[in-house]
């Protein structure tokens, strides 16, 4: 239409208030480059959205809400479509996790060997509910429905590592070891 070429469309003479803020404005530089790198590398794949979300979460630990409009632009999707996908899948999280992610199995096979008691112990000893992060930022506790270790339950996965036959004592030892490793790498107190 002709409005685009209207003589009144000069921005020099008047102040323009943008109704379309820059996409991804609140991302840190590192997050922004992670989003763009994932999109550049993967967007040619058929069905690229899940691989991109995985790559982003692998890189920065979560899918920052402000990454959604940026991904939508890169993939030529609507923001609603990308938001719909991020919110549909339990695995994608939209807030920054602790230094370690602990997935605790809530499914039937683990229930049959004391999974509920382990869940109670985990919540109590970490002083968090599911999806919560400990006060010192060390551990985020997530529920999971089967880790495929059903003959050696109760099972947990700490970061990428599967552990079986977990009781309260082994649970505490694994958490303590993870905190010690953090202390060793950051040089801070254990």
């Amino acid at each position: 239409m002709s409005s685009a070429s209207s003589p009144n469309n000069s921005t020099a003479s008047r102040r323009v208030i943008s109704i379309k803020p820059e996409r991804g404005a609140s991302l840190t530089p590192q997050e922004r480059s992670a989003v763009l790198a994932a999109c550049d590398r993967l967007k040619a794949l058929p069905g690229a959205l899940l691989p991109i979300l995985h790559a982003l979460q692998d890189a920065v630990g979560y899918v920052p809400p402000d990454a959604v409009p940026l991904i939508a632009r890169e993939l030529n999707l609507s923001i609603a479509e990308v938001h719909g996908v991020v919110s549909f899948y339990h695995f994608f999280r939209t807030s920054k996790p602790g230094r370690h992610v602990l997935q605790l199995c809530r499914a039937e096979a683990c229930q049959s060997v004391g999974g509920a008691a382990l869940e109670a112990h985990a919540k109590h000893s970490l002083a968090v509910e599911f999806h919560g992060t400990t006060a010192d930022g060390a551990v985020t506790l997530e529920p999971v429905y089967c880790l495929g270790n059903c003959a050696l339950g109760p099972a947990i996965m700490l970061d990428d590592r599967l552990h079986g036959r977990i009781n309260a004592e082994r649970f505490d030892a694994l958490i303590a070891a993870a905190r010690r490793r953090d202390g060793a790498t950051t040089g801070g107190p254990a």
Binding site: L50, L53, H54, G84, V85, F91, A109, A151, L152, D160
Partner: protein, 519 residues
């Protein structure tokens, strides 16, 4: 003296109880004693209660020791285990352990035997012979072999694989796909994981054969993200297969192409439903599609698609290698061949048992499983995942057969068996089934999305004794609505665990009976 070969599994279940530490300790101890060893990281034999299960190659065969915690390693060296000496942890020749010996390992023939990423070891154990046969056959002849074998979908639906493949073969289309459903979300199952970690080449081979049979040139493995270890194994195996011409533009020099990629799911149970999985692979929310059209005609990106479970595809190579009749001659009734059964939960000897169809639950639970881990009576078993029925002891003589399980209002599903002892609260298990359905519903159809939430509430009121007979009638009515009105198996089968718990363990649902039982 030549190096002693020692096997320590790299299966993630074995790693979950310390196999990595055991392997490290064995290497260190051997170095300290100047004993030359060759350490092979094999898959798991499936005797998971013995993990970490260490094996030593001797002239008398492989000798098993387990469970070998890292701190027991010096003691094993002292006893002379590198020459197969006796020890408190010794089990004699692995192949003679009754749990292992009394199996019919077809799909799992190599799992636990070889290093899963050693392509030469795979070939030395009959690997790629099925593919070699398939390359010389017309597509219709490959499909005919799969049909004749009687192989049915091992993901749970038990649909004949040959019929599905034939539909894809006959569907017009320049682009077709093979999709492997590796979204093994059922609690009490891990056979897919064990294949992918313990013998990934057999899955690659099976998918390639499916491609040759149907004219598909691209395959996808849709793998659940809870299996990062399997992802690493598959990626490495696919890389090795490409490097040696078992994948790519010229399969075994036959001039046909097949490419394969792994894609990760993201923690949605519903994506194990085939149409939901296809949506997810397309980069969308994993919402169930209406059928028809069948995925065989309009599947991934609208193209004709073979979609089968890991075990189904991994069983195809042996059918092509040994012949359809060889496979068909195992089993009973219309359930032909073998089923990898997973013994899990509160069971003394948990693990993987591959047997021909027809073995009874009782044999599995007691002869293999050794009863409960807690030593208390087994009160209930759930067969077939979170949507499978809870069965009491009176049903333990049921043979593992798709039709026999349908007849007792149960289902075999993916072959997972979860045992519970007599401390289980079956009303809580029924409630959990509804809760799980509510959590994992894709939201597309009302009976599943809303019915599951109302189901939790009705069970709570029933257990609280709040007009119990009315609540029970309401629960049965709700279950019927979900069964007949849901779009897919999630809402449609949630009634199985709920109603079976109510039918066989009704005492757990009624507060007066519960109170009486507690006294």
């Amino acid at each position: 003296m030549s190096a002693v070969t020692i096997f320590v599994p790299r299966d993630s279940a074995a790693l979950s109880v310390g196999a990595e530490e055991t392997a490290t300790a064995i290497s260190a101890e051997a170095a300290r004693r100047n004993i030359e060893i060759r350490l092979v990281r094999n898959g798991s034999r499936g005797m998971l209660w013995l993990e970490p299960l260490v094996e030593v190659q001797t002239p008398a065969g492989r000798i098993a020791y387990g469970p070998v915690a890292a701190h027991r390693v010096p003691d094993l060296f002292d006893a002379g285990f590198t020459s197969g000496a006796n020890h408190a942890l010794a089990w004699g020749p692995t192949a003679e352990i009754p749990y292992f010996k009394n199996q019919e390992r077809l799909t799992f023939a190599r799992v636990g035997v070889t290093d899963p990423l050693d392509l030469d070891a795979y070939r030395a154990h009959a690997g790629f012979r099925g593919l070699e046969t398939a390359v010389g056959l017309e597509p219709a002849a490959i499909v005919a072999a799969v049909t004749t074998s009687g192989l049915r979908g091992r993901g749970g639906a038990a649909f004949p694989a040959g019929i599905k493949w034939n539909t894809v073969l006959r569907a017009p289309g320049a682009q077709k796909y093979v999709v492997c459903n590796a979204d093994e979300g059922d609690s009490g199952t891990f056979s897919d994981r064990m294949i992918m970690e313990g013998d990934p080449f057999v899955l690659i081979e099976g998918m390639t054969i499916a491609g040759l049979a149907t004219g598909a040139t691209q395959g996808f493995i849709y793998l659940r993200c809870e299996y990062p270890h399997a992802k690493r194994a598959l990626d490495a195996a696919i890389g090795a297969a490409y490097a040696r011409g078992f994948l790519g533009e010229n399969i075994l020099g036959g001039g046909r192409r097949f490419d394969l990629d792994v894609r990760l799911g993201a923690g949605a149970y519903i994506c194990g439903e085939e149409t939901s999985l296809l949506e997810s692979l397309e980069g969308k929310r994993g919402q169930v599609r209406f059928k028809p059209p069948l995925p065989a005609l309009e599947g991934l990106f609208g193209k004709p698609t073979v979609i089968n479970n890991v075990i189904t595809l991994a069983t195809v190579p042996i059918i092509l290698e040994r012949g359809a009749e060889y496979y068909r001659d195992f089993g009973m009734g219309r359930s032909r061949g073998t089923l990898p059964i997973q013994l899990t939960g509160n069971i003394k000897h948990g693990g993987l048992v591959e047997r021909a169809f027809g073995v009874s639950l009782r044999e599995l639970l007691y002869d293999y499983g050794g009863g409960s881990a807690s030593g208390r009576p087994i009160r209930a078993v759930q067969v077939g995942g979170p949507l499978g029925a809870y069965l009491p002891e009176s049903r333990f003589d049921t043979p593992l057969d798709y039709e026999a399980f349908t007849a007792i209002k149960g289902m075999l599903g993916h072959g997972g068996i979860v045992a519970f002892d007599d401390t289980v609260d079956m009303a809580a298990q029924a409630r959990y089934a509804m809760e799980f359905c509510a959590l994992e519903s894709c939201g597309k159809c009302t009976p599943c999305r809303i019915g599951s939430r109302r189901g939790v509430e009705v069970i709570d009121r029933l257990v609280a004794g709040n007009d119990a007979s009315k609540q029970e009638a309401l629960l049965r009515d709700l279950c019927e609505t979900m069964t007949v009105g849901s779009l897919c198996a999630l809402g449609g089968l949630t009634a199985y665990p709920v109603l079976s718990a109510l039918e066989h363990f009704s005492e757990d649902f009624h507060s007066t009976l519960r109170a009486a039982g507690a006294q």
